[in-house]
């Protein structure tokens, strides 16, 4: 880069053409004062200029490390900044996830982008407004507290001749001050833009085919790469074959057990990867048979057992119980199965590396790529470009590692896009979880004790962010050590049972270089733990012949929990009665309703599913989903509804259809035929979302909470309809038929 200030101005141009207009004056006037040096280092988080810039025409550019995964968070950021600054939302552009331009906010995960990530943006906008009003006061010769701001113009309400626009006051120049956190932010009752359904800023271009996704990035001199994976984990590369007879091939790259091809065109790279003769060793897979997975998980000795929460004397209460109830549940391997296979472009030279990626963790990937390539982190520049929607650690970072190795090998920019089998077959998988729950009740039907155990795999190898080379698949294949983590999983619930224990256990699982590596997939493991918990609550209510909503309300003491449960029930027209429904017909199509509730962090949801079960075929159709959702302050109601609806569809798909299949020759779920997901004819007839707005509370997360209670709501509805209990996901026709055959009759 020629000059830090010039480069920042040039880079700003990408976020809005207007910004480039003041590049030269700014350079000549204040070039020597550039505090940060984009391109060589990360913008300082305490500098106001790291978070926002205002052009001569008043256009605002906001900089954030939080990136948009397709849920509209960029629009929400624009609303928050615009409201705090008193500018039209249309005048705000967002620059996301660039290690040279945006401060490190830890990347995206856990539905925290607005709850946590927007806090410094709001603060910087408030600070900027205070500075701008002060500048206007000086210029206009009036006291700052007599001025007001509308549409980016500071004015004196009692004197129409006195006004100055943000563009005039600061346009193109830096603030050069620290964000102190002392500027007052607006109270919720002052919001004009936050809380309204501003249309998403990205949608018009997406509908027109004019949007730039990561797959659209083209770099001059770019070659195309594809990767060839070992057939099973532990297979060693014997021979990588030759490029002879493969048109357009620039290089076959083999390094350890990593194999890739680089070709002049994308189609040549695809064909070369397909036709290259690669020989691997043939080890035995380190897995149990798929049919034995859950048995194997329960038979393994845990490496970690941790009591995650405890109240009262569980063992004593259990001994004194008149009756105990217990059940086990199982959740399978699931794939992110991103719509667009992962894609990255790497330009690695002796000057450093530039990586274009749809990673959820740009600053963390910067370190991972540096480690993978043997560069200093400062020599790596990661530029996030929006990709296909992602829901955690899918293949994006791994594809970046592939592109980096290939580009380093050939000394030219290389674009890698995974094929469908690379994505579905080799993405880090959402892990299986098995759950065991036991409850003790007294003679009057009161719950005395609740003992919950969730058992999952170590997360070794695939943390949420690729901070080391060994945390990328390519790194593992070239022999770098994976450094993982082990965090026991735990169910989130707020039931006030007198005695309660929640235990998380970890059993070992081979992770390195495996297509069954496990990683975060939307609301990591909570769909599984809530499936166990909320199915079991339903089983308790049924055993005690109590309405499932009434049963929950007996033990939910937090008013927000109770309110969200009541909101869903009221909207759905829930009529209290125990499950299963009376007068179940043993044949034909029957219907039922099921309830589930869950907190996720501070966000609370309650989900109701209504289903039709064809008892002859085992087919389940979800006719209606109702979800009540309390995530504190709502930034954009329509955007929130859209994300909730999509969570409900995706989680219905995971509940009814999704399970990664594997065997001695590897993972067999490699495309949409072998890993089917929900399609339009199977989508529910109706989805209804009840938003519980809490302007008195901060905004909590909303990207994934709505996903966590769908499976138990559906399982509970199947039970209500048929008296058959589904304790293993997905609820395939085979499993439903088996459960129907197993049901005790008459039900309950």
């Amino acid at each position: 880069m020629i000059n830090p200030t010039l480069s920042r101005r040039r880079l700003l141009a990408a976020g809005g053409a207007v910004v480039v207009g003041f590049a030269m004056p700014a350079l000549t006037g204040r070039g020597g004062e550039a505090a940060a040096a984009p391109g060589t280092g990360m913008p300082a988080p305490d500098a106001l200029d790291s978070w926002l810039a205002i052009g001569p025409d008043g256009r605002v550019t906001v900089f954030t490390d939080k990136v948009d995964l397709g849920m509209g968070v960029s629009t929400a950021f624009a609303q928050i900044a615009a409201d705090e600054l008193d500018v039209p939302v249309q005048s705000v552009s967002i620059v996301m996830g660039d290690t040279a331009r945006t401060p490190d906010q830890g990347g995206v995960g856990g539905s925290t982008s607005i709850a946590v990530g927007a806090v410094p943006v709001r603060q910087a906008a408030a600070e900027a407004r205070r500075v701008l009003v002060g500048l206007a006061a000086d210029r206009l010769g009036v006291a700052a507290d007599t001025l007001a701001v509308r549409d980016g113009v500071v004015y004196a309400p009692d004197d129409p001749t006195k006004s100055a626009s943000y563009g005039d006051l600061i346009g193109g120049r830096r603030f050069n001050i620290a964000v102190t956190g002392s500027a007052p932010v607006k109270a919720p009752d002052q919001y004009k833009i936050v809380g309204t359904s501003v249309p998403r800023i990205d949608i018009p271009a997406k509908a027109a085919g004019a949007f730039t996704y990561i797959v659209d990035v083209r770099v001059p001199g770019m070659l195309h790469g594809r990767v060839i994976r070992p057939p099973v984990p532990g297979a060693r590369l014997v021979s990588a074959g030759s490029a002879e007879g493969l048109p357009g091939v620039h290089r076959i790259v083999a390094k350890g057990n990593f194999v890739g091809v680089v070709a002049d065109t994308e189609w040549h790279a695809v064909q070369a990867a397909r036709n290259l003769k690669v020989t691997w060793s043939a080890p035995r897979v380190p897995w149990p048979a798929m049919a034995d997975l859950y048995t194997a998980m329960w038979s393994m000795t845990p490496t970690t057992r941790r009591v995650m929460a405890q109240a009262g004397d569980v063992d004593g209460a259990m001994r004194g119980a008149a009756r105990t109830i217990e059940a086990r549940y199982a959740w399978p391997f699931q794939s992110h199965a991103m719509m667009g296979p992962s894609c990255a472009i790497a330009d690695v030279s002796d000057r450093g590396a530039t990586i274009w990626s749809s990673t959820q963790h740009p600053h963390q990937l910067q370190h991972g790529i540096a480690d993978l390539l043997g560069l200093a982190p400062g020599a790596v520049h990661v530029i996030w470009v929006e990709g296909s929607g992602s829901y955690g650690r899918a293949g994006m970072d791994d594809a970046a590692g592939d592109a980096a190795i290939l580009s380093q090998a050939v000394g030219r920019p290389v674009r890698v896009q995974w094929m469908r089998a690379d994505e579905t077959g080799w993405d880090p998988k959402g892990p299986p979880v098995v759950v065991s729950v036991r409850a003790g009740v007294d003679a009057q039907g009161n719950v005395l004790a609740w003992d919950y155990v969730a058992r999952g795999f170590s997360g070794s190898g695939i943390p949420a962010a690729a901070t080391t080379g060994g945390n990328m698949l390519a790194g593992q294949l070239v022999g770098l050590e994976a450094r993982g983590f082990d965090v026991p999983t735990v169910v989130q619930e707020n039931y006030a049972f007198p005695a309660k224990r929640k235990t998380g256990e970890i059993v070992p699982w081979p992770q390195d270089g495996s297509p069954l590596r496990t990683a975060n997939l939307r609301a990591p493991s909570q769909p599984a733990t809530t499936f166990g918990g909320e199915s079991f609550v339903d089983e308790m209510a049924a055993a005690l012949r109590i309405d499932p909503v009434d049963f929950r309300l007996r033990y939910l003491r937090n008013p927000r929990d109770a309110a969200v449960v009541r909101a869903a029930a009221q909207h759905a027209g829930w009529a209290p009665r125990p499950s299963p429904r009376p007068d179940i017909s043993r044949l034909g199509v029957t219907t039922g309703r099921g309830f589930a509730y869950a907190p996720r962090g501070n966000t609370l949801i309650a989900t109701i599913a209504e289903v039709e079960v064809n008892q002859a075929t085992g087919q389940v159709h979800v006719t209606r989903l109702v979800l009540a959702h309390d995530c504190g302050l709502i930034i954009n109601p329509d955007g929130l509804r859209g994300t909730i609806e999509a969570n409900l569809i995706q989680s219905t798909s995971r509940a009814l259809k999704e399970e990664v299949r594997f065997g001695p020759s590897g993972v067999a779920s490699v495309d949409w035929a072998t890993y089917p997901i929900l399609r339009a004819p199977e989508a529910p007839d109706r989805i209804e979302v009840v938003l519980v707005n809490r302007p008195d509370l901060p905004p909590y997360g909303a990207g994934e909470p709505a996903t966590v209670a769908t499976a138990p709501a559906i399982a509970n509805a199947i039970f209500d309809a048929t008296g058959a209990r589904l304790r293993t996901v997905p609820f395939t026709p085979e499993r439903v038929k088996a459960a129907l055959a197993d049901r005790t009759w008459p039900a309950a």
Partner: protein
């Protein structure tokens, strides 16, 4: 390099596009009303030519297997999967992509309905839904809900924006009706 639509000569029959690598040929394609001349092996899937040679962004790679629809284009008005059609088979036919679906500079009613309904999450798949729905409404202007769902059954949306996309198609049908 441009000439009016429909001026392209008859191209090689698709059967001539063998699976084995074949030398590049000169192929003329009519895309969004503009004739382009490209150098490509006749068996190259149309998708790669549209994206990599003609720099179009609407059709996207999703599976390369014809299973998801992200690559959908119109070939003489019919929605087809450009990832499985050899480029040679598209020569001499009218190719329309998402970019060229609407009248010059304007959105097609289906595109507009997707904007109005905010009918997407990430939008990576949305090309397939819009192109398939537009082809459906061209032949069935007022489809029932079941007809819409059935016509869109071959598409994948991983984020799960189905409900809004179905609403958008109904809205487009009503706006045209």
């Amino acid at each position: 390099m441009s000439s009016p639509a429909g001026a392209s000569p008859a191209a090689a029959h698709p059967a001539a596009a063998a699976a084995a690598p074949s030398p590049a040929a000169t192929i003329r394609l009519t895309v969004n009303g503009v004739v382009h001349t490209v150098q490509a092996a006749p068996g190259t899937p149309l998708l790669y030519v549209l994206r990599d040679d003609l720099a179009l962004r609407g059709p996207r790679f999703g599976c390369g297997l014809g299973q998801c629809g992200a690559c959908t284009v119109h070939l003489d008005g019919a929605a087809v999967r450009s990832c499985t059609i050899p480029v040679a088979a598209a020569a001499g036919r009218r190719i329309t992509t998402l970019e060229g679906l609407g009248p010059a500079g304007r959105l097609h009613p289906v595109q507009q309905a997707f904007v109005d309904e905010q009918a997407m999450q990430c939008g990576y798949c949305v090309n397939g839904w819009i192109m398939t729905a537009a082809a459906l409404l061209a032949r069935t202007p007022n489809p029932s809900d079941a007809e819409v769902r059935s016509a869109l059954a071959g598409l994948i949306c991983r984020c799960g924006a189905h409900m809004r996309m179905l609403r958008a198609v109904r809205r487009a049908a009503q706006s045209r009706g």
